[in-house]
Symmetry: C2
């Protein structure tokens, strides 16, 4: 692991990930991060007060498929040295959502002025990493081909509660033919730190999804061809939804799609 180094220019040449983070930090780049610094792991971010962090850590531990924890900060420390030597989580996301008592109160491009000594940052793996492995293996992903979002669904499957955190599992869905579904199970099984293998495939009704066309927020590519199966993965919206339902007095998340770019290579997350 690299030693922490919060100066903008370290002793080593900057990677593509570091360069993009610097543009984001100075607000030169403020939109979604899909396709940015390709090959580098992007992370979902949840920031909670210490009084809520221990329970949330337990929630992640009990629900590793929707909440694959890549890194947790020290209390009050805006650094995440495991994910990048110069990361300052207060400025290194293109956009943030700020919640009070579970209600979204503002969207910002920097939260330095809101930082507190009791805040703890959680960085969770994101499906961008395994989608990159699927595409490299020649498996077509329809929503990417069409430049659309992946559709998500709230299932009837309960996550395992921890303290004040609980809620239904949220999944993403990708339509694949059977041969590619089998390959996708193999490939994503190698990436447990970014949701891992699918949680379901085939009949949506078995996990409480009555109509595939009715996705979460109505977004995404939801059509499944006659020779395809819908394949469902646990989704990082699950912990966000659990946090909003728990209504902590203060919390910050990344704005959906506006992720933390880390220094980790996607391939470095492969477990075998």
């Amino acid at each position: 692991m690299m030693p922490p180094d919060h100066s903008p220019s370290g002793s080593q040449p900057a990677s593509r990930a570091q360069l993009e983070r610097r543009r984001i930090r100075v607000r030169e780049y403020v939109t979604h991060t899909a396709g940015l610094a390709e090959g580098f792991v992007q992370a979902n971010i949840c920031i909670l007060p210490k009084a809520w962090a221990d329970e949330f850590l337990l929630y992640c531990q009990r629900n590793p498929k929707p909440c694959p924890l890549l890194s947790m900060s020290d209390v009050g420390d805006p650094a995440l040295p495991e994910l990048g030597r110069d990361i300052d989580i207060r400025s290194d996301l293109p956009a943030y959502c700020v919640f009070r008592n579970g209600e979204l109160v503002e969207e910002l491009n920097d939260v330095t002025h809101l930082w507190r000594d009791d805040l703890v940052t959680f960085a969770l793996g994101c499906s961008f990493s395994f989608e990159s492995a699927l595409l490299e293996a020649g498996i077509p992903l329809k929503h990417i081909e069409r430049g659309e979002s992946v559709p998500m669904y709230v299932t009837n499957v309960d996550t395992t509660p921890a303290g004040r955190f609980r809620g239904k599992l949220v999944v993403s869905m990708r339509p694949l033919n059977a041969a590619n579904a089998i390959r996708a199970v193999q490939i994503t099984s190698r990436f447990p730190r970014v949701h891992g293998a699918p949680v379901h495939l085939g009949a949506p009704s078995l996990i409480g999804i009555d109509d595939l066309r009715k996705s979460y927020l109505g977004i995404g590519t939801t059509d499944v061809a006659p020779d395809e199966l819908p394949v469902f993965w646990a989704c990082g919206v699950t912990p966000h939804s659990a946090i909003q339902a728990a209504r902590p007095p203060f919390s910050i998340t990344h704005k959906p799609g506006h992720m933390l770019i880390t220094d980790l290579a996607n391939a470095s997350l492969a477990s075998f």
Copy 2:
């Protein structure tokens, strides 16, 4: 690898596999081998004249999922030292099928009197090994619970021809719920030498199977519950069927279910 040792008692204590082979060799045991010497790999056997063996080797190489080659003998040599130090393939199967010009002419418990200096033995992996891994992982296999056979189907999928060998892929089918189907892809992917990952799951019609109840020879447990998917693996009947269609003047196979017990542990075939 152990050095070849054709004496009935080697210098090491005999394993369960060796003890069962000795009973088979002296015709104390002449029935099917399901459940015999549990934990040891069982192999499908095809014996062909040298004039046909090179093409069959190429057929196996081109179709590794239905024809996962564990070992091929030297010409005229009834030993398979990679699979067991004392194996004599002329006597070590409980029952043999003898074919002339692709037609079954007799079933025997010993083929020593038919042996020729130009015969070559092929030992192919069998699904017993991966079924054992599935059961150990707690995945119920309905046909085993009921003491029935696994159902097989001739698909509309062509194997890759090699010389005179060609034909449709034959598959076995196991009904599994989605979570177990995903686990079964993971587990069987670790065993490429015994058919590996499934070749299909979901709609049978996509691989030319119109009615799951109409299995090959009408045998097996064919019912699929509403919360299950049919999961299809390449099957070792494929090469037997290709040999019969090629009509070599002379060939010998094991009688279905009457396999070679090898000295290899099932777990030793796991690729990771």
